[in-house]
Amino acid sequence: MLEQNTLEAISPAAAAEAPVPAPVPAEVAEVDLGVMYVDYRMLLLSVACRKFRVPESEAENLIQEVFLSYLQAGTRIENAKAWLVAAMCNASRHYWRAQGRTESLPEDFEERCDPMSNAVAERVAQEMTVRQALGYLQPRCRQTLYLHYFEGRSAGDVAREMETTNRYAEKLIHNCLKRAREIYLSITKVTR
């Protein structure tokens, strides 16, 4: 049977992905850049490292540049989170363009973060939280969701992969998604 009723130990990766603070309008000169760096670091690294596949050490340098440009914006920033994420996307694209002079770019680097999208920050934060929720699931449950939702496999395929019956695989898919949602909601409830 499924073992869904107790949370697994928090994986280091999941524990690290702390909830992202809600956007707050800010006068740039009044904010504490160090505090902001700590608050938004994971979100910005997720954008650079996961969306744009920038190496972490390079991504930290980009974050530094992004915060410096934030400091010198010379105008009121209405939504610090959205501003920083957008600037991080811009910096990551610039990073790959600069790298492109000496090595091949990831094929989809321009599409990794839709520049026209208004909701990049929210989407990245949501993905971080889902990733965190998945960290609490049993490995079997994670694999089920991976096969069905990410790889798009049918319940029959999942059953063969998991060496079980079709009916049980269906139940597994439904229960695992339900469980993932419960955890996701509990995380976001605490966050808010």
Partner: protein, 445 residues
């Protein structure tokens, strides 16, 4: 299948989503009628959608600990930033206490003033002065550029020095635009954009420069370039969730539309912006622009109402340039209503205010309106002088390349000399070769 409260069980919704797909669920009568089930379904769908993203499954681990070097660097940078700004605040205060002629010598006498903080504070002072004392605002941008151009990259870093240079040139471009030196403004905005390009990560800053470029384009009759620029900048500001900047973009778009004689399109943009919470100075500008659109559409009553509102707000906040422009436009309404003598008196007062504010281009334009009022008032003798003044002002404002405007003025003057000039001829010349004036009161930022 149902819970005790009469809703679908969550597992059932997941199963239905999995088996029936979106269309079947959208047809389900209970879900359609039940807000609770619709909400749960939306949440389940959203989660299932996020699970399809490779980023959720990306195995890249990220170190949870903040990088101590980055943290120390940022803390130090902000500390320096604040210290420089505090010192510069005092220096700018000291500078502004002197006459404008003494500013440059004062800067040269104080090498310690050449800091990034001083550039920032001079730009802030320029922004504050642009409405009340445009020539002073312009001079302040010149000082900021003099400092920004010599900031040592070894002290501030290449990108910081380049970014500040970009800001200084951008404000310079805006001040030049505001005072009517459009060709120089164009050069300045190009310098700003070149500096931002050097930074590498400056699309937000570059978009702000793009708005100034669009405003200059409107004045130089390069409307398609201006509109393309505001659309590009609008996308950037939406991405950065900057409502204020997006509003500035829309105002620049409306300016271009107004000058393209698309008054209804411009008016609808202004009305949308007017319904939003905006600062008082922007509100005054919007009121004036709405009034100008109504005037062009022939609704003089609405135009008068909004002009009055603009003057009230402008007077309350000491916005001298804004008041002058609003009175100018109000003078044109009087002219359209046949109140020629009142219009002429008002337009002549406005010209004096614009001369005092150093707005050469606007002086040239209001002179054309004065010429029209003189024709209507039957004072032909004075039209020739008025036209010659306008030609001189156009030349000094770098508008000699605008052949249509120059030939219109030439025609106007020749017709006055030959005694052929009448109200109809002036109206035809204005409608066919001179843009509808005066310029809208707008802010690039």
């Amino acid at each position: 299948m149902m819970t005790s409260e009469g809703h679908y069980d969550e597992e059932v919704l997941i199963a239905l989503l999995d088996e029936g797909g979106d269309e079947a669920l959208d047809r389900d009568p209970h879900i359609a009628a039940c807000p609770a089930c619709s909400k749960t379904l939306a949440s389940v769908r959203e989660l299932a959608d996020v699970l399809k993203s490779p980023d959720v499954w990306n195995g890249t681990e990220i170190s949870p600990e903040p990088n101590a070097n980055v943290l120390a660097f940022l803390t130090h940078a902000q500390s320096d930033f604040r210290a420089e700004d505090a010192a510069a605040e005092t220096w700018v205060h000291e500078l502004l206490a002197q006459s404008q002629e003494a500013w440059t010598p004062a800067l040269h006498a104080h090498p310690e003033w050449r800091t990034a903080g001083m550039v920032r504070k001079l730009l802030e002072a320029s922004y504050r002065a642009i409405e009340t004392a445009p020539p002073e605002a312009l001079e302040l941008t010149a000082l900021s550029i003099e400092i920004a151009e010599t900031l040592p990259p070894t002290r501030y870093g290449e990108s910081t020095a380049a970014r500040l240079r970009g800001h200084a040139w951008r404000e310079r471009a805006y001040a030049l635009y505001f005072t009517g030196s459009y060709n120089e403004a164009l050069c300045a905005v190009e310098r700003a954009r070149a500096a931002f390009k050097e930074c590498g990560y400056a699309e937000f800053d570059d978009a702000r420069a793009g708005v100034v470029f669009a405003l200059i384009c409107a004045e130089q009759e390069r409307y398609s370039e201006g509109l393309a620029e505001v659309h590009a900048a609008g996308d950037i500001f939406e991405h950065y969730r900057s409502r204020e900047k997006f509003s500035a973009v829309k105002r620049a778009e409306a300016t271009n539309l107004y000058l393209l004689h698309r008054y209804r399109d411009a008016l609808s943009i202004y009305q949308v912006l007017d319904a939003e919470p905006v600062s008082e100075d922007v509100r005054a500008g919007l009121a004036q622009n709405i009034a100008a659109c109504y005037r062009e559409l022939g609704d003089f009553e609405a135009a008068g109402r909004y002009f009055t509102l603009a003057i009230q707000i402008g007077s309350k906040h000491g916005m001298l340039s804004s008041i002058a422009k609003t009175r100018w436009q109000f003078g044109l309404v009087l002219l359209a209503q046949g109140r020629d003598r009142e219009a002429l008196d008002l337009l002549c007062e406005v010209r004096r205010d614009l001369v005092a504010a150093g707005r050469a281009h606007n002086v040239a334009e209001v002179t054309i309106d004065i010429a029209e009022a003189l024709v209507i008032a039957g004072r032909m003798q004075q039209v020739t002088d008025a036209c010659r003044e306008a030609l001189d002002y156009f030349a000094s404002a770098g508008m000699t390349t605008s052949e249509s405007a120059m030939s219109a003025l030439g025609l106007l003057r020749e017709a006055a000399i030959d005694g052929r000039l009448d109200k109809k001829a002036v109206a035809e010349i204005r409608a066919t070769v001179i843009k509808p004036r005066p310029s809208l009161h707008l802010y690039a930022d």
